[in-house]
């Protein structure tokens, strides 16, 4: 089901996007050129705002990440269902992990297992497509895509039960 998003240009200010929710209520997001966002809940009349929350750039980013993180994982889950034998798992970095505080490249996960690390979830925010110099921290969840066997290998590498540099 796709929602219809109505766009309104606000000359000199930015753009307003409005949509109707499943319960018939309408909400809108104003994206201002200066980076501020307004989250608008429309009144029963439908034309005006009943409530407007103005977010600065940082606040908007955090909220976008909170709303978007599960979405990424869901999409991966969908992907996994469509491609047989490929699975997705969120693998934890325990504090005992030899890679806590080290760059992702050090794990050589792809070279050693064939699995891909597509994102790292940390403190509710998502770091998509992390590069080899992305520094892992204890408590991270590493979103990994691969065969069952490869995922098990990556899990062992990350928690330190598979000796580094071999295999």
């Amino acid at each position: 089901m796709s929602l219809r998003v109505e766009n309104r240009v606000l000359p000199g200010i930015g753009v307003c996007q409005e949509l109707e929710l499943h319960d018939g209520r309408r909400v809108g997001i104003v994206t201002r050129r200066d980076g501020h966002r307004d989250f608008v809940i429309y009144d029963e009349d439908g034309d005006g705002a009943a409530e407007t929350v103005t977010l600065n750039e940082k606040e908007a980013d955090v909220i976008a990440e909170l709303l978007g993180a599960p979405q990424l994982v869901n999409r991966l889950a969908d992907l996994q269902r469509s491609v047989k034998e490929v699975e997705t798992e969120q693998l934890p970095i325990p504090s005992s992990s030899p890679y806590a505080g080290r760059p992702l490249g050090d794990t050589q996960a792809r070279t050693r297992t064939g699995a891909s690390i597509v994102a790292v979830l940390r403190d509710g925010s998502t770091h998509a497509s992390p590069g080899p110099d992305f520094r892992l921290e204890a408590g991270d969840l590493v979103v990994t895509v691969g065969t069952r066997e490869a995922l098990d290998q990556v899990a062992r590498i990350l928690d330190g039960t598979s000796p580094p540099g071999t295999g």
Binding site: L10, D34, D47, A49
Partner: protein, 402 residues
């Protein structure tokens, strides 16, 4: 607190610094008061200027010349920022969709001002100027107001902003016309000024949409300092040339603002904003300074009458604009009331006219008029929603019959 003026010759710079410092400090305090009272600061600047002006409390000597130049730069900065905030595409699409309402807006709101000037016997030049004063709503005051009231997401807001864009665009034609008329040329030179203005505006909008990136590249740089100097330099240069060509410096600056686009424009807005705040404040104060507080009282009844009439015509404009976009009645009311405040453009027009020797009463009249429209608008903005809420409460309190 009369400042020692014309003290011994060697301390000219000292007097200048003291006067300038006192003025800016006073403006800073006014800004705080405005924030505290939740009103726009522009009318307070005007009033401050009036009370410290000729015959007022403060007699300025050394800083007068500096203030006059700063005021001119203030106008140029107000206009370049306006241009920077609109993209050429926005202007083009507004022109396509909003032209009819722009016409209604111009006719409904310019005529009352022009009629008053003619009835008062101030002459046709004053009529053209006062027509401009009552025509243009303040995009600065209104954008701030809509944002503060949390109405940017409202359905009627694009209609309100559309009217403002059309007015700002029309100013690119009106200001050269006024400048040519004030310069006292015959029909020929006025026609030339209009043709030049129309041609320049169209060329700049076409250039900005097709080749905006080249102009942008000319001044665009990673370095904040060179970006500031580049944009400011280009603006003053073009404004100066436009003034030389009698197209009005303000319009030249506006066009530079339109031509610069994208992230360079966004960065330039950020960098120029503090400069605009400083010089525009000086412009508003200087406008007030040039008229004494004593001249304000005699024109106050005129200003009030003009406000009543042009608040009604502006309301009608906003109501129609919102209805065109399919907004329901409460939204139309909000749109109508939102457009009432007049501001920076009215003052720019009046300053141009008065400095060219049109009836001096135009100055205090405009100052009082801008002040009253802004205060009136601030007082009535929440009315439509409050009335609707009251009606709801009444119907909820009514005993149920079933």
């Amino acid at each position: 607190m009369v400042l020692a003026s014309g003290a011994n010759g060697g301390s000219h710079i000292a007097t200048l610094l003291v006067e300038l410092g006192a003025i800016l400090l006073a403006l800073g305090i006014l800004g705080r008061i405005a924030r505290w009272l939740h009103v726009p600061v522009v009318p307070l600047y005007l009033v401050a200027g009036l009370f410290f002006g000729q015959g007022g409390l403060l007699s300025l000597s050394a800083s007068q010349e500096f203030l006059r130049v700063s005021a001119d730069i203030g106008v140029v900065l107000l206009l370049v920022m306006l241009g920077l905030e609109y993209s050429a595409d926005e202007l083009k699409s507004s022109l396509r969709t909003q032209a009819p309402i722009g016409l209604v807006d111009g006719v409904l709101n310019a005529l009352p001002g022009a009629a008053l000037a003619l009835l008062a016997g101030w002459g046709p030049l004053a009529a053209v100027a006062l027509g401009g004063v009552t025509w243009v709503s303040s995009s600065g005051v209104i954008a701030k107001m809509l944002s503060d009231l949390g109405r940017l997401g409202n359905r009627e807001t694009p209609a309100v902003l559309g009217v403002l864009v059309m007015e700002d665009l029309m100013m690119a034609l009106y200001l050269p016309l006024l400048t040519a008329l004030l310069a006292g040329g015959g029909t020929g030179s006025v026609l030339i000024a209009i043709v030049v203005a129309v041609a320049t505006v169209s060329v700049v909008i076409v250039l900005a949409t097709r080749f905006g990136t080249h102009v942008t590249k000319l001044v665009g740089t990673e370095d904040r300092e060179s970006l500031l100097l580049g944009v400011l330099g280009l603006t003053l240069l073009v404004a100066g040339i436009a003034d030389q060509l009698k197209v009005s410096a303000a319009v030249g600056a506006f066009l530079v603002g339109i031509a610069v686009s994208g992230t360079v424009a966004e960065n330039a807005v950020e960098l120029l904003a503090p400069l605009r705040d400083l010089f525009a404040a000086v412009f508003f104060v200087t406008f007030g300074l040039s008229t004494s507080a004593g001249t304000l009282l005699p024109v106050l009844p005129l200003a009030l009458g003009l406000t009543v009439v042009t608040a009604a015509t502006k309301f009608a404009t906003g109501y129609l604009a919102a209805r065109r976009t399919g907004v329901k009645r409460r939204g139309r009311w909000r749109a109508g009331l939102a457009l009432i405040p007049r501001g920076e453009f009215s003052v720019v027009i009046a300053a141009l006219a008065v400095s060219a020797g049109v009836d001096a009463r135009l100055g205090p009249l405009t100052a009082a008029y801008v002040l009253v429209t802004i205060l009136l608008a601030a007082a009535v903005q929440k009315l439509p929603n409050r009335l609707a809420a009251a009606r709801q409460r009444r119907s909820a309190a009514a005993p149920e019959l079933v």
